[in-house]
């Protein structure tokens, strides 16, 4: 019934990307263009006591040097709100360069605009800044005794603590308790394309921003509020985005700074952040510690879970990545307590990053589960099977769909789990200790709050264009949308073009939280179905149509033709209908109204991860040999894209486990490894044999196309599977990420 959906359609943007023809936001051709360079604070706390820009202003080619003294004032500083809400979505409740105060290292303190990027960059080095420095907090341990439990986190969307049952009592009564503390280094996204914005004012109230973003509408609404302009004054275009991983999910300062700079110099201005600036300009995954206690019966059945997280947030916001959501519902446990503890520090507000929250929260839970398995003498997979919950433990509601058991079974088959000798340090090949480990993967399905819209137009030659304001940042969403539209219209994919990447297009919430494809996909589906139905209604109402008088419910579409379901030889093409009725095109604007988050079902994505590692017995080097990930993401729109994304997620999990760490120098209040040479992400040589499979689940609760998203679930559990495999190989538990070799010497 769905010839295009599920098929392995190659990326519709692939050809342009491999030929270098895609235009990224720092490559858009603009006449009269100038270039901006941002100067960042070298201290983490204090104020600018003096700033001398005279030499920079005199430098060749310089058009303006903007500081807090002459930078345009913003109309308002909107509060942080995750972009999933579909409203203005600033990354933090603060806007820089409005006064002399400094709250974190890397805070923008000046913007230089010049005729070339080289001249702007040179002039930026000529600015002399004097600071008054005050003590800064940049590490969790520096101010841990001042931790507080916030009322709400995550821009107010989630409570600061949650509980059910009586954890203290249940833990006291438990036959077995596992208690562990896990520490996580801060992480940075490091997409290959650093963020960039180009601002062009056509008039005092007509601004176009070419921006590298996960949500053109979010940028439009946020910049509008900051500049005090109505949204109709601002158009945001995002032709191509070179990866994001959460760094472009919220709206940070650069599009607004570049708009203010462009207004100041009266010419278009381009601002491309440097790699180093990407470490202080777009948030990060915060430094954190998680304390977990599992109480269980002697057979491993869980009776209680206590999960506390301590993390560093900014001076402005109660931000913690929501690490406690999936762990709270992963298994049957009647007694639960989850609490976020925050420490205020001198940092930009942390943000979403690669399976935000669950990548760390499920690491803690799944490593503790591995300890529990060892303590009660049950195979780790069997322990999880015993604790699978058929309902959402937080509400008692049924899952909209699960598939977790099938994921475990399929992963075990693909991996060969059942041959495993549970004894740690039982396998050795030369210098290498060999171990295997597993973990569950869960990621919550978050529904967009606001209506999602799309537009579809069918021309009288039988081709269709479908539009929605989503950007393509590497997920393949334009390709998947082509498939969704082609199927509903009964057209081959090559006769459908999907257009996105502009805030002028129908409004779609930023593509975040694995909800991007489901949001736009549902809107596109609803829209093209309505277009199809209109065309069918026209045909059956037309005296000259072979379908005249037919019941619309009995008309199908296929190969560009509307035909009777029971007599496929009776029908006509869209083109015939439109030509005959002298209709150039038919267009529909459609809306999908997402269901409320609490619609009587628990909605989660499930999966299982397994990994085999080798650990050099003397040198401590850990290498991952193979990974198996099996996931149940509802329906799979495009197997190739979905598997690529899941595989990418698993490799990011490998990075989280073994490599990724941003190192703070607390004396300077600045990161000490802000480069791709020093912040290690996995390279091809690190990539093991990765097997990805999906268990498709029918789910008509989540959305009309039955998809739960594949953007993050591949990350979740991968690091835990690796850490558990390291334990199996060596007999040593890893309580700190990343697992670097000195921890195993």
């Amino acid at each position: 019934m769905s010839p295009a959906i599920g098929a392995t359609l190659n990326r519709v943007d692939g050809r342009f990307k491999v030929r270098g023809e895609s235009r990224y936001s720092a490559e858009v051709q603009v006449t009269n263009l100038t270039h901006a360079v941002v100067v960042n604070s070298k201290i983490a706390s204090g104020r600018i006591s003096a700033i001398d820009t005279s030499e920079a202003e005199r430098a060749a080619g310089v058009l303006a040097v903007l500081t807090h003294r002459n930078m345009g004032r913003v109309a308002t500083v909107p509060r942080l709100l995750p972009s999933l809400a579909g409203l203005a979505a600033p990354g933090q409740s603060f806007f820089p360069m409005q006064d002399e105060s400094i709250h974190y290292g890397g805070q923008p303190i000046a913007v230089v605009v010049a005729d070339t990027i080289e001249r702007a960059d040179h002039a930026a080095t000529l600015i002399r800044v004097e600071y008054e420095t005050t003590p800064a907090t940049t590490l969790l341990d520096q101010d841990r005794d001042r931790a507080y439990v916030p009322e709400r986190i995550f821009g107010g969307l989630l409570p600061g603590q949650n509980s059910r049952g009586d954890v203290a009592k249940a833990l006291a009564a438990a036959e077995v308790c596992v208690q562990a503390t896990y520490r996580f280094a801060p992480n940075h996204h490091n997409p290959i394309e650093p963020s960039a914005s180009t601002a062009v004012w056509d008039d005092v109230d007509r601004l176009t921003i070419y921006d590298s973003t996960q949500g053109p509408n979010s940028v439009q609404l946020t910049v509008a509020e900051l500049l005090g302009l109505p949204p109709i004054s601002i158009r945001v275009v995002s032709h191509a985005v070179g990866g994001s991983f959460g760094s472009k999910a919220m709206v940070w300062h650069h599009p607004t700074l570049v708009a203010l700079a462009a207004r100041h110099v009266g010419r278009p201005v381009r601002l491309a952040l440097t790699r180093e600036q990407m470490f202080t300009s777009c948030g990060h995954r915060e430094e954190q510690e998680q304390q977990i206690t599992i109480g269980a019966a002697a057979d491993g059945r869980i009776s209680a879970l206590r999960h506390h997280k301590y993390s560093l947030t900014s001076r402005f916001d109660d931000w913690a990545e929501p690490s406690l959501q999936s762990a709270a519902v992963a298994y049957t446990n009647p007694n639960y307590e989850g609490v976020y503890h925050l420490v205020r520090g001198n940092t930009i507000t942390p943000t979403f990053m690669r399976a935000p929250g669950e990548a760390s929260g499920m690491f803690a839970l799944e490593c503790a589960m591995d300890e529990l398995a060892e303590r009660v003498g049950v195979d780790p997979l069997e322990l999880r099977m015993r604790n699978v919950s058929d309902t959402d433990p937080s509400s008692g509601n049924p899952w909209s769909s699960s598939g977790l058991r099938e994921c475990y079974q399929r992963a075990a088959e693909l991996f060969g789990w059942h041959d495993r000798d549970p004894q740690p340090r039982s396998r050795r090949e030369g210098q290498w200790l060999v171990g295997t480990g597993m973990a569950s993967a869960l990621y919550p399905v978050t529904q967009p709050v606001n209506p999602q819209r799309a537009k579809a137009r069918l021309y009288n030659d039988g081709t269709a264009v479908v539009e929605a304001g989503v950007s393509e940042f590497g997920t393949g969403v334009f390709t998947a949308m082509t498939q969704v539209a082609a199927d509903a219209l009964g057209l081959p994919p090559e006769r459908v073009r999907f257009v996105g990447g502009s805030s002028d297009l129908p409004n779609i919430t930023a593509a975040v939280g694995s909800a991007g494809t489901s949001a736009v996909g549902s809107a596109v589906h609803v829209t093209v179905c309505e277009l199809r139905d209109q065309l069918i209604r026209r045909a059956v109402a037309d005296d000259h149509s072979p379908l005249h008088g037919a019941d619309p419910a009995r008309v199908q579409v296929r190969d560009g033709k509307m035909v009777l379901s029971d007599r496929p030889d009776v029908g006509e093409t869209y083109a015939d209908l439109l030509h005959r009725t002298m209709t150039p095109d038919v267009e529909v604007l459609g809306t999908w109204n997402p269901p409320p988050q609490d619609a009587g079902y628990g909605i989660h994505t499930f999966g299982a991860q397994m990994a085999e590692v080798v650990v050099d017995a003397e040198l401590g080097v850990v290498r991952v040999r193979r990974m198996v990930g099996v996931f149940a993401p509802g329906r799979v729109l495009n197997r190739k894209l979905a598997h690529s994304q899941l595989m990418g997620g698993m490799l990011w999990g490998l990075g989280q486990a073994l490599l990724e760490a941003t190192r703070m120098d607390p004396r300077l209040g600045r990161w000490a490894n802000s480069s791709l040479a020093d912040y290690l992400v996995p390279v091809n040589a690190d990539a093991p044999d990765v097997v990805v499979d999906t268990i498709e689940q029918h789910d008509d609760v989540v959305n009309p196309i039955g998809i739960k998203g594949v953007g993050e679930i591949g990350v979740v559990g991968a690091a835990a599977a690796i850490a558990n495999a390291v334990h199996h190989a060596t007999g040593r538990r890893m309580y700190e990420l990343p697992i670097t070799l000195e921890k195993l010497l």
Binding site: K42, E118, D121, H122, T125, Q431, E618, L619, G620, V621, R623, L658, L659, R663, M664, D665, R667, L668, A672, N673, A677, D678, L680, P682, V683, N684, A685, D686, T740, L741, E742, L745
Partner: protein, 331 residues
């Protein structure tokens, strides 16, 4: 970037004459490290003299059995050169394990020897660094120093020398050939690298405008039985946490010839002379290897995060020697 003038020269005399005449000038070869440093204002020459057209790219036999690597020979060309691979496998291996394929295609071997430390504080012009700004202090001493040196350090500097090739050349006693307006010189590789001492800004005994024209590998039969092993967090494109270059011959279970050098743990490519002395004539056993490793690292000085490197270096030495012995045995 600051305004920089650029010229491209095609003969050695003009190249060294031009640079020697202008103290604010510098040679530009592959540029893979230098252009980075220009971009972050750590090096600020006003004039770049591009020497990529100089006829210094050959790998040629020397009378007496040695091999001369032209200063401008690319890392990838030397790594793949059949004679290098046959007679000096550790040189080829050290090159292949360095950088990335793209960088190896660009970078010259002379530039590889001359590359600067990747110490984060050296690269940050806002903070104290005795190597970059003599007399300002060392930020690494109590800073983020997981990658820093434990051997050859001073109270002024603990920056690690990043070259892999240099480590292999140190084990081989290679000789660096230079040319300046004062004439040609041959500098033994050990003298080509200076310890930081009180002058960490001075890394080589070269005068301004003196050009590395070639690197001579001596005739050394034992080098045919050599290898380079490199320990690091990720499998590619990362500097060493510890590396060992070793050439060894074992006769009747005794070590008759040994060349050993360390990388990733010292302020210069580090010839492990104490270990060599302990190994020379000793039985090729784990005991000997362990004693030699202990001897070499006896003077190591840890600084916080890098303390693990002492143990890692010892174990890497033992690993390299053990593998060499096993290979010798099976050969």
């Amino acid at each position: 970037m600051r305004p920089i003038s650029y010229s491209r020269v095609s003969d050695v005399g003009t190249a060294i004459g031009t640079v020697a005449a202008d103290p604010t000038s510098a040679f530009l070869a592959g540029g893979t490290n230098q252009v980075d440093l220009l971009r972050i204002y750590v090096e600020q020459p006003r004039r770049l003299v591009d020497i990529n057209d100089l006829p210094l790219k050959q790998v040629e036999e020397l009378p007496g059995g040695g091999l001369r690597l032209g200063g401008l020979a690319r890392m990838s060309d030397v790594a793949e050169h059949p004679t290098v691979r046959r007679r000096y496998p550790m040189v080829s291996e050290s090159l292949v394990l360095g950088a990335s394929p793209q960088l190896r295609h660009m970078a010259s071997v002379a530039g590889n020897l001359m590359q600067r430390t990747r110490c984060t504080y050296f690269r940050d012009t806002e903070v104290a660094c005795n190597k970059r700004s003599p007399g300002t202090g060392c930020s690494a001493m109590e800073g983020v120093n997981r990658g820093h040196a434990v051997l050859g350090t001073s109270e002024c500097c603990i920056a690690t020398h990043p070259s892999d090739l240099g480590v292999a050349l140190m084990a081989l006693d290679a000789v660096v050939q230079t040319e300046s307006p004062a004439g040609q010189r041959s500098i033994p590789i050990d003298d080509f690298y200076l310890l930081p001492g009180k002058t960490p800004e001075r890394e080589h005994p070269l005068s301004h405008g003196e050009l590395v024209t070639g690197i001579d590998l001596p005739p050394l039969p034992v080098a045919a039985h050599s290898r380079y092993i490199k320990i690091r967090d990720r499998e590619s494109y990362e500097f060493a946490l510890a590396a060992v270059a070793v050439a060894m011959s074992v006769v009747d279970g005794r070590i008759t010839e040994i060349r050993l050098a360390l990388g990733g743990v010292a302020t210069k490519p580090w010839r492990a002379r104490a270990a060599e002395a302990a190994l020379d004539g000793a039985p090729a056993t784990t005991d000997s290897f362990t004693r030699a490793a202990e001897a070499e690292l006896a003077t190591a000085v840890p600084h916080g995060m890098n303390a693990f490197k002492i143990e890692l270096a010892k174990r890497t030495i033992v690993r390299a020697l053990t593998e060499m012995t096993q290979r010798e045995g099976s050969a």
